[in-house]
């Protein structure tokens, strides 16, 4: 196995024993990138020189001082909607094609402080509005498991990179769907657990979290990212947790709720059976399975769609060509400059979101759309609060289907949005969730989703780890033709 295919845990041990250097890891990853990137298109921007420089600095420090952070030197990919000082940050949009930020997102500053070489910026749906990475203005990313399929989204580039050995792990603002489609582990933390400062996204629905090869790596990367940040007033000021500690606590006696609505919803039989098998594994490990109900589940996706569109339409207003980014070349007056800049700068999927969002908060439609969605959000939160008195975590499929083919759903936004069916409720409620690979359906990875109450990341990681250990599946590496 090549260095670029190992877990961060394994690499950290090799580094600690000085069997390898950080530079060798980074070189191995770039070697893989050289082979597979042309086909997969995981990255929008690579920082080979920067990553190598960091790796060398870590090696030098490890040589001279002996002590560096345990994870120093293990390279990471960063989704291109996280602000990186001096490195392009485009959100996969033409409107930000030339934009180089002057500041680091808080999570980026944290991974830099931990000595993680930053490999580059990964592809995503334009302004992370999508679930397939097909709306990227710079072309889609392909799924390493089957290159005619999408990697999921919006963080398709990050998940595909981790799956294909083009990164050891990644920091992204979308986790479950791409993790599920690419057969990696993705954790969405509790809203407020990780700072959103420098994250270019929908305000109240998106979170920054880790994508990794396995559960242990996920916990390690979350350790690096989590923590209160005064720059984000929605960030939670809670005690620091070591997510890696007690990972092997097991699931004995843990009540795993199966929300009946998730299982009654339309989903591929292959997905359902893989998930049911995974639940059986948890039961074998001592978990107690209970059936529960989230009655407002069926409204969640519509509410999610409206709220995400409203926040997007508002947040995207700043791309007007005045201060930075794309500006339409020839406009006779300011209003034309605004419309041409936005008309030429945004792709069709983004425009659809802007229209939907603006409509939903316009006079006369506010009550029927935004307000109703906000009410659904409250009801969904109440559902979860009640359900978590009956069980400790929930288990469900991450997505209704495995990865679909490129282009298959592009013409049908409703069909496309179905992929959000199982992620919407936890996102609306700001709850933590994890997706772990639980086998294959039609030869493509299936994700098992575990959802927990707020701040219960540790419980989720423990359950996911218990499953991962018991299932013993060799999942993380796709049978990719280019390897």
């Amino acid at each position: 196995m090549e260095l670029c295919e190992l877990t961060a845990c394994a690499l950290a041990q090799l580094l600690a024993k000085r069997e390898i250097s950080a530079e060798e890891i980074t070189s191995a990853v770039f070697k893989r990138i050289a082979v597979s990137e042309e086909l997969l298109h995981c990255y929008l921007h690579l920082d080979h020189a920067g990553a190598e420089a960091t790796a060398r600095a870590v090696d030098a420090k490890r040589q001279s001082e002996g002590s560096v952070g345990a994870l120093a030197g293990i390279p990471v990919a960063v989704m291109d909607n996280l602000s990186t000082a001096g490195l392009p940050t485009t959100c996969a949009s033409k409107v930000l094609q030339q934009y180089v930020p002057p500041f680091d997102a808080t999570v980026v500053a944290k991974i830099k402080a931990a000595g993680l070489p930053l490999l580059g910026k990964t592809n995503l749906d334009e302004f992370n509005l999508g679930a397939s990475t097909e709306s990227s203005a710079f072309g889609p990313t392909r799924n390493p498991w089957r290159t005619e399929c999408v990697p999921g989204g919006s963080a398709g580039g990050a998940a595909a990179a981790v799956a294909a050995g083009e990164a050891i792990w990644a920091v992204a603002s979308s986790h479950l769907i791409p993790a599920s489609f690419c057969g990696v582990v993705g954790l969405k933390p509790t809203y407020g657990r990780v700072s959103r400062f420098g994250l270019i996204s929908s305000s109240s629905l998106d979170q920054v979290g880790p994508l990794a090869r396995d559960v242990s790596d996920c916990a390690l990367l979350l350790n690096v990212m989590a923590g209160y940040d005064a720059l984000d007033t929605t960030s939670l000021n809670t005690e620091a947790v070591d997510f890696s500690a007690e990972l092997a606590a097991g699931v004995k006696g843990v009540r795993v709720g199966l929300p009946s609505e998730y299982f009654a919803a339309d989903a591929d039989p292959g997905v359902k059976s893989a998930v049911m098998q995974a639940i059986k594994v948890l039961e074998d490990q001592g978990a107690q399975v209970v059936e529960v109900s989230l009655p407002h589940f069926r409204y969640a996706q519509a509410a999610y769609t409206i709220l995400a569109a409203v926040e997007a339409s508002s947040g995207l207003g700043r791309y007007d060509g005045v201060r930075y980014g794309y500006r339409s070349a020839d406009a006779p007056d300011t209003n034309t400059m605004f419309s041409n800049t936005r008309g030429e700068g945004f792709g069709a999927a983004v425009k659809l979101q802007i229209l939907l969002g603006t409509f939903s908060v316009s006079t006369g439609h506010f009550a029927d759309n935004y307000l109703k969605a906000a009410k659904v959000r409250t009801l969904v939160k109440d559902d979860f609060a009640r359900v978590f008195t009956q069980c400790d975590i929930l288990a469900a499929p991450t997505t209704p289907s495995t990865a679909f083919r490129l282009g298959e759903r592009c013409a049908d936004p409703v069909m496309m949005s179905l992929v959000n069916t199982f992620r919407a409720p936890a996102d609306l409620a700001g709850l933590p969730a994890i997706s772990i690979p639980c086998g294959l359906g039609n030869g493509l990875p299936v994700g098992l989703q575990l959802i927990g109450p707020a701040m219960a990341e540790q419980r989720l990681l423990q359950a996911a780890y218990a499953y991962e250990q018991a299932a013993g599946l060799e999942l993380s590496l796709p049978p990719m033709e280019v390897r």
């Binding site: 400062f197 420098g198 929605t234 508002s314 700043r318 007007d320 201060r323 006079t363």
Partner: protein, 494 residues
């Protein structure tokens, strides 16, 4: 048949910049007059991914403004986004407050001549300032180019909205002056209309009784009035225009709001546009800012920090210092002046009315040209209140006369020298006025018959006591030789 009677109905929307050191959602400084775009950061430039952090001082000042305007402070408040595109609005939305303002339902009293009026305050909410645009032409549309200075973008603003309780331009002006006095008293805003830190929009329409039928003209909103005089003139002009247009059958009635501008030079309003329907700003709650929760204890703590407000202080000046209501009003119109007055009074052994006359006369005369900066000019003046008290003491003792005192005052104002020093320099130091000293000598002789008897009995050494008494009455400023001579003359001692 006479002309129909009518009433002018006026409501004001006032924007005041809060006197915080940093902007409302970032830590950029708020100082006025820096080079363009030097007081900016990722947050107020709306760079991708930057998040706002609420400046708690701005909340404190906004709530204090509300308390001083008699408002209630609801326990829950939140920010909403008000969307529109304009090059000086970096986020393409203004973070403002729609349904849950920080302060509601206040009331303010003010006077025009001797009549007291009340205005209800609908709300006070917190929002952010936009940047400053400089157009090559008249306005954005049609300009060859426009320049944006975002130093001002993100300064904290309060918007104060009154109910339509005002009935004339004079009332509007008087209310606005009272409002400015209050905001400056509590040090919430410097309220400089010249620099734009206080701005006023006026909504004006008429309620006309036409043959027993009540008719209302459409509301005209006159934007961006930037002086007290402009507020008064614009409202009076607009009311008259609406009435005349109504009589001519040209005034629109009960239609949507009409926006108008005011030309100070031409002395007229001009209609900018008639809104077909209310503007749509696509308001919704700002998800990047957590709601503001203010406990009753916090409100009371802020209330307890408020200084005595102008109305209370005015009343106290009348009772405590025996001033007329008019004088008390003038002296309390600015906190710095009132503070100055009271410090002089504290240091002066005499009638507070004398101090009032001096402050309203000499001191305010010196500040006449300072306009909005009067309080600052007074604070920076070399003459400090205790020095004025010393001067007045000299005047009262008879050491100098009124004209001399004014001369000394003028010198002290610019040089900052003590009164005694100036008196000495100008030779006012010794009283050599024979008549004035003779009067004091006579008084001392009349008050000390025993000492006189001693002297006349040959104990001439007691003379010194009499001289000392006269010197004491003149604070040492009488010419001692002259005093001695006059006593000898009076007592016929050679």
């Amino acid at each position: 048949m006479g002309y129909p009677e009518y009433q002018v109905i006026i409501g004001l929307e006032i924007h005041a910049e809060l006197a915080t050191e940093s902007k409302v959602f970032c830590s950029c400084p708020t100082t006025f007059g820096a080079a363009p775009n030097t007081q900016v950061c990722p947050i107020c430039l709306a760079l991708p991914g930057a998040l706002p952090v609420l400046n708690e001082k701005a909340v404190e000042l906004a709530v204090k403004a509300g308390l001083a305007l008699g408002c209630e402070i609801p326990p829950f408040s939140r920010f909403d986004r008000k969307h529109y595109f304009y090059p000086d609005l970096p986020k393409a939305f203004q973070t403002s407050q729609l349904d849950h303002p920080l302060c509601r339902s206040g009331i303010v009293e003010f006077r025009v001549d001797d009549q007291t009026y009340q205005v209800r305050i609908n709300r006070v909410h917190l929002e952010e300032e936009a940047g400053k645009s400089v157009h090559s032409g008249e306005r954005l549309q049609g300009s060859h180019y426009s320049l944006m200075d975002l130093n001002r973008g993100g300064l904290p603003l309060i918007e104060i909205v009154t109910e339509p309780d005002l009935r004339s331009g004079e009332q509007a002006k008087a209310f606005l002056e009272r409002l400015r006095t209050i905001l400056r008293y509590i040090e919430v805003s410097d309220c400089k209309m010249q620099e734009g830190s206080l701005r006023c929009d006026a909504n004006v329409n008429l309620s006309i009784n036409d043959n027993g039928k009540n008719v209302r003209t459409s509301i005209v909103e006159i934007k961006n009035l930037n002086s007290f005089r402009a507020v008064e003139r614009a409202i009076n002009y607009e009311a008259q225009r609406q009435y005349e247009d109504y009589l001519d059958g040209n005034m629109s009635l009960n239609a949507g709001k009409i926006t108008a501008g005011w030309s100070d030079a031409e002395g007229r309003t001009y209609v900018q546009r008639q809104k077909e329907q209310a503007d749509d700003y696509f308001y919704f709650p700002d998800p990047d800012l957590v709601p503001i929760e203010i406990s009753a204890e916090q409100v009371e703590s802020w209330r307890s920090q408020l200084p005595e407000l102008p109305a209370e202080r005015e009343a106290r000046f009348v009772t405590q210092y025996g001033l007329s209501a008019y004088d008390a009003g003038v002296l309390t119109a600015a906190k710095g002046i009132a503070d100055f007055y009271e410090t002089v009074v504290e240091n002066f052994d005499g009638d507070p009315k004398i101090v009032a006359n001096w402050v309203m006369g000499e001191v305010l005369r010196m500040l006449k040209d300072a306009g909005d900066e009067a309080e600052q000019a007074l604070a920076e003046a070399p003459l400090k209140p205790h020095m004025l008290a010393e001067l007045l003491q000299l005047l009262q003792s008879g050491a100098i006369n009124g004209n001399q005192a004014k001369e000394v005052f003028a010198e002290m104002w610019t040089s900052g020298k003590d009164a005694a020093v100036v008196v000495k320099e100008r030779g006012f130091e010794q009283i050599s006025d024979t008549a004035a000293i003779a009067e004091l000598v006579n008084a001392v002789i009349a008050a000390n018959p025993k000492v006189i008897a001693d002297i006349q009995g040959g104990k001439t050494s007691a003379m010194g006591f009499l001289v000392g008494q006269v010197m004491k009455k003149t604070a040492g400023k009488a010419n001692p030789k002259l005093v001695n001579q006059l006593i000898r003359e009076q007592l016929n001692i050679t």
